[in-house]
């Protein structure tokens, strides 16, 4: 009985250590903003992609302003098997992404200097449709 209790406690601690809540992820992401001011967060929880179908993608729209430098950060839950990808689109296509496919490089954030005010779209997904929780944070970089 005591052994069972011990196993349960260890299992619980293991789960809490490896699966932060979305709110905790927001705080982690905001702590790492540096010289940027928080504007908005996007909390995403994706199930694994169904084989043969497209990976789940969360989409958000925002107005971004000219002459402004924004930072888009992504924090992925430790329990997630994949890495989070955050992309910025305008109506013509991709403007920026934290994942460079050619070199298979991930960045935890990128800065984008906007020169054209308008509606932009933020997409958050996991590479290869892996399941997991991620948080994207949009922030304003001080001039």
């Amino acid at each position: 009985m005591r052994q069972l209790l011990l196993i349960s406690v260890i299992a619980f601690l293991n789960v809490t250590a490896h699966s932060q809540t979305a709110d905790q992820l927001v705080e982690i992401c905001v702590d790492g903003l540096g010289d940027a001011t928080y504007l908005k967060d996007f909390q995403v929880e994706h199930a694994a992609a169904v084989p043969g179908q497209q990976a789940p993608v969360a989409r958000y729209s925002m107005v971004l302003n000219k002459n402004t430098q924004y930072r888009l950060s992504i924090c992925t839950s430790e329990g997630a098997s994949g890495k989070g990808i955050i992309q910025l689109f305008d109506n013509q296509g991709v403007v920026a992404t934290n994942y460079v496919e050619d070199s298979d490089t991930y960045y935890s954030f990128f800065d984008v200097k906007i020169q054209s005010t308008g509606v932009y779209h933020i997409f958050i997904s996991f590479k290869d449709g892996a399941p997991g929780t991620a948080v994207g944070v949009l922030s304003l970089v001080k001039r």
Binding site: T37, M62, N65, S116
Partner: protein, 301 residues
């Protein structure tokens, strides 16, 4: 079937209550939840509304721009908190929550922590009146404002509290209150920009004022939609329509260009080469300033 039955029960009551112009705020003996009133009558889906509402510019960005232009702080730009008792409908509470939220962003940007406490008190009363006070951690906000120790945290918690409240309202099918709040933020933001431009005219401010055209069209669509079931929304959309007529003469053109990625010290930076150009005259700025003053005066009394 039960839901349909309930709908038949609710709609006649709703019609009577609308005709009588009753306040939908707390204190009435029998209330139909806002979610029931609005969810059954609108043609634009909540999903579409959500997308439109999210597009409103952040007051943090407007305040940051003003501060970066070395414009000194002035409390004359802010809405008074003396008329709080007049905001006795949910529409007015939500609208003023937006206005005060915008002012709070401005105050935070200028580190005016004493005034922040006053606005926090007003925000607390309005948000409690709407049943969303739980999203503001007032004790932490007060502590941060009083100690002046961590202004970044004060800004973060303030903005995050508004974002959470906004999300909650939309999830609970009270997106109309979110729309009223967003309208408050937008009008106060435009008021701030135009008032500052009056004393400190400059191209960057003019351009930011002109860019508000992008948001206004969507905002009016939302307000008109809710205006079909609530006269306060219809009244506001009519007022904003006057502003829209001025913005209709403002043009925004675009020069196309491909974004460029630069990696420096392990950091990724993207520079956009597409440019937007706002064509706005000083006469149009003057007209927008006057129109915004008129609307705001009517709404914050």
């Amino acid at each position: 079937m039960v839901k349909i039955g309930l709908l038949f029960l609710v709609v006649p009551v709703l019609l009577v209550s609308c005709q009588m112009g009753r306040d939908s705020g707390p204190g009435t003996d029998f209330e139909i939840p806002d979610s029931v009133i609005y969810a059954q009558t609108l043609e634009i889906s909540e999903e579409v509304m959500e997308g439109i509402i999210s597009n409103v510019s952040s007051i943090v960005e407007i305040s940051s721009l003003i501060k970066d232009l070395d414009v000194p702080y002035s409390n004359s730009y802010l809405a008074t908190t003396a008329n709080l008792d007049n905001y006795n409908t949910n529409f007015r509470r939500a609208f003023m929550l937006g206005v005060y939220g915008a002012d709070l962003g401005y105050l935070n940007m200028y580190n005016r922590t004493t005034a922040v406490l006053d606005y926090l008190t007003s925000i607390r009363r309005l948000s409690d009146g709407l049943g969303v006070g739980q999203f503001f951690d007032f004790s932490t906000l007060r502590r941060l404002a009083s100690s002046q120790s961590n202004l970044d945290s004060l800004m973060f918690i303030s903005v995050q509290s508004f974002n959470r409240m906004d999300n909650y309202l939309r999830q609970e099918q009270r997106a109309h209150l979110s729309a009223a709040m967003v309208a408050g933020v937008w009008i106060e933001g435009l008021y701030l920009l135009t008032q500052v431009a009056k004393s400190f005219p400059g191209e960057e401010l003019f351009e930011r004022i002109g860019e508000q055209k992008i948001i206004l069209n969507d905002l009016i669509i939302i307000l008109q939609n809710y205006g079909r079931v609530h006269p306060e929304f219809a009244g506001l959309s009519e007022e904003l329509d006057k502003v829209k007529k001025i913005f209709d003469e403002v043009s925004i053109t675009y020069e196309r260009g491909e974004p460029e990625a630069i990696e420096r010290d392990g950091m990724l930076m993207i520079i956009q080469h597409e440019r937007s150009i706002v064509n706005i005259t000083e006469e149009q700025i003057r007209a927008l300033t006057e129109a915004t003053e008129t609307i705001r005066e009517k709404l914050i009394l």
